[in-house]
């Protein structure tokens, strides 16, 4: 009799353990998707602003044709990217070209005085920060997910659900420079 009760309790414990981890894994995976779509929203916003920016710059900086073409190309590859990884990579590329445009803009005082240009510059640099934050949240979410998928005993449940660890999003090269902190 006691044996049956103990067995019953054990079975219930195992079932509870299974349900707990199953739900946790689902929640964490959804969080990654949500984080990914946040990045997507920001990248799309940036891509939408680019044509407007190019039109503004065109009138002032006629000698930067090549740079503007590069930006248009980079934008197109963001729009055409199929998955998040590709999109993020293309987004980094677009970011780089935009940066060089804003650097070049220093040579055109009239452009720098243009209100529309200034507004776009502000907007785009805000988006750059948001992309970085969103990517951080994405990678944090991947970390929590990978932890539960790989750690024992939750890895047993993850194995049954056929879940594997996810890949982190790459951080663009220049961002990797660790800020100098001296104490």
């Amino acid at each position: 009799m006691i044996g049956i009760i103990i067995l019953g309790i054990l079975v219930i414990l195992v079932v509870l353990f299974f349900i707990g981890y199953y739900n946790r894994i689902v929640v964490l995976e959804n969080r990654i998707d949500n984080a990914g779509s946040q990045i997507d929203v920001q990248l799309k916003k940036r891509a939408d602003l680019v044509p407007n920016l190019i039109n503004t710059v065109k009138g002032y900086a006629k000698h930067e044709k090549e740079l503007l073409e590069n930006i248009t190309k980079a934008r197109a590859s963001v729009v055409n990217a199929k998955n998040l990884e590709e999109k993020a990579k293309a987004g980094n590329e677009l970011q780089k070209t935009l940066k060089s445009l804003f650097a070049v803009a220093e040579n055109y005082p009239q452009l720098r005085a243009n209100e529309n240009f200034l507004h776009l510059q502000h907007e785009l640099s805000g988006i750059e920060d948001k992309v970085a934050y969103a990517r951080q949240h994405y990678n944090d979410s991947v970390l929590s997910f990978n932890n539960i998928v790989e750690k024992f005993p939750s890895n047993l449940v993850a194995g049954m659900m056929k879940k594997d660890g996810k890949k982190y999003l790459e951080i663009p090269q220049e961002d990797k420079v660790v800020p100098k902190v001296s104490f």
Binding site: G126, D129, Q136, H137
Partner: protein, 300 residues
């Protein structure tokens, strides 16, 4: 300390809120009981009236907490081109924290400070002073906002709200009791049983009425200081840049030690990133000393 998972912290906050409410109820109920018995009234009747009133007041203050906090700060919503940077920072950091963007408000004051309020992440507000916007660099402001967002993410705001409301309420109730005792004492006791034994009860009642708010405050402040360290750690987790928050804290400390003035009301001070009231007794301070916070941050 920085490793503690925020889920655990949310759970701890809920448990602590619950026990705090129980403690407040027992203490307040205790002195109401003793005093009414001492006067020969029916304690049950008084208790029922007192708890009904407290529950109503608690509920109203709880659901309107962010509005009350904003009103006491005379804050206005951060709208328009002037606050683009601020709004972008809050939006970005909320993304990094994985919470909905709170409403952003600005407090018209030269002080450097900020607070978060609300009952849960999707109903929360962040408020910074004009002084903070003018004096702090972008990275310092980022550290401060990230600190407030960690309070929101960890449900600290709900706990702080409950506690602020309850501490205020208990203080009011004990005031009312002490006053009625005073007037009752002068006017002579109606229906009192007769001398002797009542006197001791009245003394106990007075002691309880005086001690209850103090005990609650000490308990609350002890927990509140720990929470600040957690929010500092959470801030660094979001910004990955301890230096920003360190510099901001230094500037805040500097401001309050040189200017020595504040418009921030004492009752809402626990909500702010740094307590503007230089209260000497450590047991009564809502925030750890800034140096201690900076030391902890530098270890990260």
């Amino acid at each position: 300390m920085a490793k503690a998972h925020f889920q655990d912290q949310i759970r701890r906050n809920n448990v602590l809120s619950f026990f705090f409410l129980i403690l407040a109820f027992i203490l307040t109920g205790g002195f109401i009981w003793v005093i009414t018995v001492a006067f020969g009234y029916d304690p049950f009747f008084m208790l029922i009236i007192a708890s009904t009133i407290s529950i109503i007041i608690t509920f109203i203050s709880y659901t309107n907490s962010s509005r009350i906090a904003l009103a006491s700060a005379r804050a206005y919503p951060a709208e328009g081109a002037k606050f683009t940077v601020l709004n972008n920072l809050v939006e970005g950091l909320s993304m990094a924290a994985g919470i909905p963007k709170p409403k952003v408000y600005v407090m018209p004051s030269k002080e450097i400070n900020a607070f978060a309020a609300g009952t849960k992440p999707d109903k929360s507000v962040v408020c910074v002073t004009e002084g903070a916007l003018e004096t702090l660099t972008k990275y310092e402001l980022e550290g401060v906002i990230a600190h407030e967002l960690s309070h929101i993410k960890h449900y600290d705001i709900r706990y702080i709200t409950i506690v602020t409301v309850v501490v205020g309420l208990v203080a009011i109730v004990s005031q009312i009791m002490l006053r009625s005792l005073f007037w009752g004492g002068i006017g002579g006791r109606r229906g009192g049983k007769n001398g002797g034994g009542d006197f001791l009860l009245i003394i106990i009642g007075i002691l309880l009425a005086i001690l209850a708010p103090i005990v609650l405050r000490i308990v609350y402040f002890a927990i509140s200081r720990k929470r600040e360290y957690m929010a500092d750690a959470g801030s660094v987790q979001l910004t990955r840049n301890p230096k920003g928050l360190i510099n901001a804290l230094k500037k805040i400390e500097d401001f309050y030690t040189t200017k020595r003035q504040t418009k921030i009301d004492k009752s809402v001070a626990p909500m702010y990133i740094s307590d503007p009231h230089k209260i000497i007794k450590k047991a009564f301070s809502t925030h750890p000393a800034t140096e201690d916070r900076i030391k902890a941050l530098e270890k990260m």
